[in-house]
Subunit: 398 residues, 2 copies
Amino acid sequence: MHRGTDEFRWARRAADKIAMPSTTPRDMIRLGGGLAFPDELPNIVEEAAAAAAMRSEGLQYGPLYGLTDLRDAVVAYLAQDGVSAERENILIVNGAKHGLDLACRVFIEPGDAMIVTGPTYMTALSIMKTHEVEFVVVSQDDNGMKVDELEETLVARRKSGRPLPKLLFDVPDFHNPTGITLSIERRQKLVQLAIEYGFRVLEDDPYRRVRFEGTSIAPIKSFDIGNHVIGLGTVSKILAPGLRIGWVNASPEIVGRMAAQKCDHGTNPFVQRIVAQLFLNRKVDEHIERVKRTLRVHRDTMVEAIHEHLPGSKVDVPHGGYFLWVRLPDEVDADQLVQRAGELKVEVNPGRLSFAGPAPGQFIRLAYSFCDPTEIRAGIARLGEAYRALRSTRATQA
Amino acid sequence: MHRGTDEFRWARRAADKIAMPSTTPRDMIRLGGGLAFPDELPNIVEEAAAAAAMRSEGLQYGPLYGLTDLRDAVVAYLAQDGVSAERENILIVNGAKHGLDLACRVFIEPGDAMIVTGPTYMTALSIMKTHEVEFVVVSQDDNGMKVDELEETLVARRKSGRPLPKLLFDVPDFHNPTGITLSIERRQKLVQLAIEYGFRVLEDDPYRRVRFEGTSIAPIKSFDIGNHVIGLGTVSKILAPGLRIGWVNASPEIVGRMAAQKCDHGTNPFVQRIVAQLFLNRKVDEHIERVKRTLRVHRDTMVEAIHEHLPGSKVDVPHGGYFLWVRLPDEVDADQLVQRAGELKVEVNPGRLSFAGPAPGQFIRLAYSFCDPTEIRAGIARLGEAYRALRSTRATQA
């Protein structure tokens, strides 16, 4: 009676995509994922107990768009960045990724084009792939996405009659994985292009407040005209990723369609109350200050260790965020380095995962968020061991 | 510069679907949605504070498949129903609806056929519609979905060369909206048909434990052969809907593909810890007993009030669950009744929303879960007032 799995008729989007449960050995030094620094996760015991006591709010089905108090708190938070929003612009979601997925559900048909930087946030790529998008990849320099290159592409597509992209995805502040911040001129130009070519910009901005030095640049959303920018936010980097609370900031029409695609009957109201309270009692602000102080030291430690242990590689020093993006010498294969590093008990991410197409070189992404300086130094030293081994193998072969 | 909304190129699934934020006036008696009884929501203050104190678990990114302890607690819970599962069969999701959506992402291409009962759970219909399914509607009698009718449809489709359905969705215990429980013979037959015709059965079972009298029938999943049944569960009706914790029970291959479609980076680990603890310390079991005692009285109160205030309508008395499904006399238009009732400050659901196609008669769905007996009596009395007004209008017109 049992039929083989070849008889499962998966949807195209699911045919070759299977997530394996992963476990990390205890002695692994984790420089891979953008996890929070565990020693400084916020103390939310009081807020959790208080929210649990508000039973008929937190334990009942919540409002589809989110708790009024949290939506208002997000409005106030965005105002600090010069973004003016009203409550009806805000939809509470289960993290910014959930917002990206809902935007794809609302705008994307299989085969529609979407603009991304090369490289870009790897999990976002993975979500966009489930919507079967065609990627339009635009390269970056020190000022972020090359908007002139984007314009040339759009001109050429229009000329040739190919359908124009529907969405653009970018992380303008401390870009994942490169740490680059998009210049103000390019932000303004992006909005102009969005209007001219009729696409929507998804501005994913989790790292904006994690700035160690220098001055912030106004969000793309602050230059928006005619609802061409959809802001995606999250408390994952300013509070705690486990809370799974994010938001969308867009026109009521877009927000209404995204809400209609939610399959969670409203994001968890109990956790929303906790987060609303943490915004109101300023614990979010306090936590951001703590994170900035700590991660600045982490970043400096990692940069120094890279200079010591990975000679011949190239790394730019970002002014904030969670990641360093390391260009390896051509003779060091990134995938081999990642594998060897794993054998030496240090976890790093292959750069390949951050590209929609083939990687134009050898890269790895390193997160300095999770480990303390001692672990970071030990981790980069182990990575350096793998690195030297690969280079000497190459030298011997040559 | 501003361009009109006609230039938004929505995806088909989002083109005409917009969710309005809803507010319910304070003096409205709510017999519409399947909300929890607020006076008896569980006290989780202790568990919430304890989970918040486990910072590096609850506030960090959690495992994609869910906390091991919660997956094991679900395995134990399912075992009580005679369903044998292992940890690797369980995926934790944001409520059972989220599981339905993930199953659609994994199996459904636009235009694929899906089998549902007529009527069925209205929010499930709404989710399936976002995946642009073709509905194959099978009618019900007192023993649930007419599987012989289903078989005839499948035979005819195969004969005519039309593609066979990929999924079947049903609520076999205290069906939403009808309260009907599917007979054991039909459960077995459904599995046979699933094997014969190559579809998967989604068994959505939120109300199973809310049984007031009579004996439970083994879940469809307990008759599964060859992974043709996907179980969907939730704590919404056995604990609290606001927690947004549900699960999927399926083969590791299906679960792996569903996990790959999750866009939440793993369901909230902090809330998962709370729920795992509530399973372990037996508060779930205690809560179920309390819910059963209370809702039985609610049901009896509502049935009695219907007999008094809605003469000429027909209602079957379910042995559990949250809802009564009322067939109105043909001369009473359900939509008009719902509107008039709203004017008299009682909220009920039009039966139309529970049908994939046109409703074959006049129905309303009434939930007895949220209101206490006094409110239920007052609500049905107000409904009766609207009902009498509509009938007398009809009588005058005739």
